[in-house]
């Protein structure tokens, strides 16, 4: 196993909600004590539903949202402890691609400016010609053409816009990219093209991905490792092959079962959980999943479970893991 590029330790993002000066402060633990390590050149998937905190997690890693606790260690350096100036270098190395293709590119800027601006910020003194060449190279890499840089985002389809967003991410030669549901808003056939592009580019450019999604089929296609989030906590993490074939946490089992399979010949017993997904503002006591867990027992309501090791690299947070 290769070394870790990122080590995320006890990452925390709490939001304080206050309706007025007079009401009590309520805390939303959007990301609650999250710990995992991303090996170099791997694709690490983070899955979860509404309220899981997966989106907040992605943004907190890049300090787009200020974390309220924890560390992110890259090659021995806790990047959260760096000054703004020192952090700039890491901003270049860590990029993000967003979910919404229609709002992630500035509507009034040329594709050239959108992709090239990062270079002007990070490579001071870089010449116009070199910028143009880099943009041309990166557009071709994502399957577009040089002349596309002189157009505006609204002239492109959703899939093409995501390719442009990705081109923007790789033009600075990063080592780590957070992909926040990059294909959720795209049609199936377009999604396939974008996923393939992501896979190939990762290989060609030696990248490491953090892939945030709710779609387990995509995780199966792309990911090496997966962490399952529920209401801000990791309930299970490990190698994708381990977690998917033999899930240890009841929630993982539920997620896998709920995922509709495009194969009418595969008949399965459906597990239908009771009730709604609780709000992260007021999570259930003890094990947060107990309200919907079909194996829940009294202990689950009272005590928060600790992490248990199923095997090397496969951790689960449950009083009564399935394996």
């Amino acid at each position: 196993m290769s070394e870790n590029l990122l080590e995320i330790k006890n990452l925390e993002k709490h939001f304080n909600l206050k309706k007025s000066i007079f009401s009590k402060v309520r805390v939303v633990r959007a990301v609650d004590n999250v710990t995992f390590s991303v090996p170099k050149n791997s694709t690490y998937a983070v899955v979860g539903e509404s309220g899981s905190g997966k989106t907040t997690l992605g943004r907190t890693l890049l300090k787009l949202i200020e974390p309220t606790g924890g560390e992110v260690i890259i090659r021995g350096v806790n990047i959260f402890s760096l000054s703004n100036k020192d952090f700039m270098e890491y901003r270049r190395r860590m990029q993000i691609v967003f979910q919404d293709p229609y709002n992630s590119l500035h509507p009034k800027k040329l594709v050239k400016t959108i992709i090239g601006e990062g270079m002007k910020i990070h490579f001071k003194g870089i010449g116009e010609e070199e910028i143009r060449n880099r943009i041309k190279a990166v557009l071709e890499q994502v399957g577009l053409r040089e002349e596309h840089m002189f157009r505006y985002p609204h002239e492109f389809s959703g899939g093409q816009r995501q390719r442009i967003a990705f081109a923007r991410a790789i033009v600075l030669n990063p080592e780590f990219i957070v992909l926040d549901e990059p294909t959720s808003a795209l049609d199936v056939s377009v999604q396939a093209m974008v996923l393939k592009m992501l896979k190939e580019t990762k290989r060609d450019e030696n990248l490491t991905y953090l892939f945030i999604t709710h779609d387990l089929s995509i995780v199966d296609y792309l990911a090496d490792y997966v962490a399952v989030l529920y209401l801000g906590q990791i309930v299970e993490k490990g190698k994708k092959s381990d977690v998917f074939t033999k899930p240890a946490h009841p929630y993982t089992e539920l997620l896998l079962n709920s995922n509709p399979i495009p194969n009418p010949f595969l008949k399965r017993d459906k597990i239908i959980a009771k009730g709604e997904i609780p709000s992260p503002i007021n999570p259930p006591s003890g094990c947060r999943f107990h309200t919907r867990c079909r194996y829940a027992q009294d202990k689950c309501k009272l005590e928060e479970p600790v992490e248990r090791k199923i095997r090397e690299g496969h951790i689960v947070k449950c009083h009564f893991p399935l394996i």
Binding site: L64, P107, K108, K112, E117, F150, Y152, S157, A165, L172
Partner: protein
């Protein structure tokens, strides 16, 4: 879908393209809005007159001819003459130039102040927003005309000071709108993206947020033009702006006060000019507002 382009240089046409795209759609809705068309015709005529004033009249606005004083409208003097024998139509035509000057300069200055305040307040939020918005509220607390009068009186009555005075009371709606747009835009992924690149706040505000506030502010700018003219005319009438013998329309109306009953044309025609131009701007503005209505289906 789009035609391929082999251009390798970016001309200004290409740079303005997203604004043109907005306009194409705007034009489509325009054709369906009769009032806006009427408004545009009036304003177009107004602009035409201002530009070609000297060509449209054989007279000079400030040449006195006391033997011709207070003549009623006739073929020689379509709008009659005033108490100094000056042709009124000629003075109205030249007065339109002053009106345009006022509208343009006030719009530019107050637009600049308003957008700067609004974008800064919206982008930074927090204490900066609070302070800037309280300042805006202070300006809004006074009736516009009264405040303009106060400034004009303070600075001294002349055209330049009047322009400054009106600018100082006219910027608040632009601040409100650009702040609202700023708030809306700052959470968008394309702003998050440039933040994640490590761009400076100034760069983000000026180069990314501001362009998005232009369209809605443009609507307000047009809507306010009528108001600027009325305010200027009001101040002129009160003697707080341009001074005689300037053919500013408000001053002209004031000039004719003593002659209202028997020589009604001295005040009436400049008054009509003000009314028509303001109507034109209002119709235009209403038309634009209707078109910007998001409920209007494409």
């Amino acid at each position: 879908m789009s035609k391929t382009t082999t251009k390798t240089k970016t001309g200004w046409f290409q740079l303005m393209k997203p604004y043109f795209e907005d306009m194409k759609h705007t034009m489509y809705l325009w054709r369906r809005n009769k009032l806006a068309i009427v408004g545009s015709i009036i304003i177009a005529a107004f602009l035409f007159i201002a530009i070609f004033a000297p060509l449209l009249t054989p007279y000079q606005p400030d040449v006195q001819n006391l033997s011709n004083k207070l003549l009623p409208p006739s073929s020689e003097h379509p709008f009659g003459t005033d108490q100094f024998g000056r042709d009124i139509m000629c003075r109205i035509l030249y007065g339109s130039r002053i009106a345009i000057q006022i509208v343009l300069i006030v719009t530019i200055i107050s637009g600049f102040i308003g957008i700067s305040v609004g974008v800064t307040a919206g982008y930074f939020g927090g204490i900066v927003d609070e302070i800037l918005m309280r300042i805006t509220d202070m300006f809004l607390a006074f009736p516009r005309l009264v405040l303009a009068m106060a400034f004009a009186a303070m600075l001294g009555p002349n055209l330049t000071n009047m322009i400054i005075a009106i600018s100082l009371v006219n910027w608040t709606p632009y601040a409100r709108i650009s702040r609202a747009e700023s708030l809306r835009v700052k959470g968008q992924p394309y702003i998050e993206s440039i933040r994640s690149m490590g761009a400076s706040n100034f760069r983000i505000m000026f180069s990314h947020v501001l362009p998005m506030t232009i369209s809605p502010v443009l609507v307000q700018l047009t809507l306010r033009m009528g108001t600027i003219i009325i305010t200027a005319a009001g101040l002129g009438f009160l003697g707080l702006g341009a001074q005689p013998p300037s053919p500013e329309w408000g001053v002209m109306v004031s000039d004719g006060r003593s002659y209202l009953i028997d020589q009604w044309w001295v005040s009436t025609f400049p008054g009509l000019a003000i009314a028509i131009v303001v109507l034109g701007f209002n119709l235009l503005g209403d038309g634009i507002r209707d078109m910007m209505d998001p409920r209007l289906r494409r």
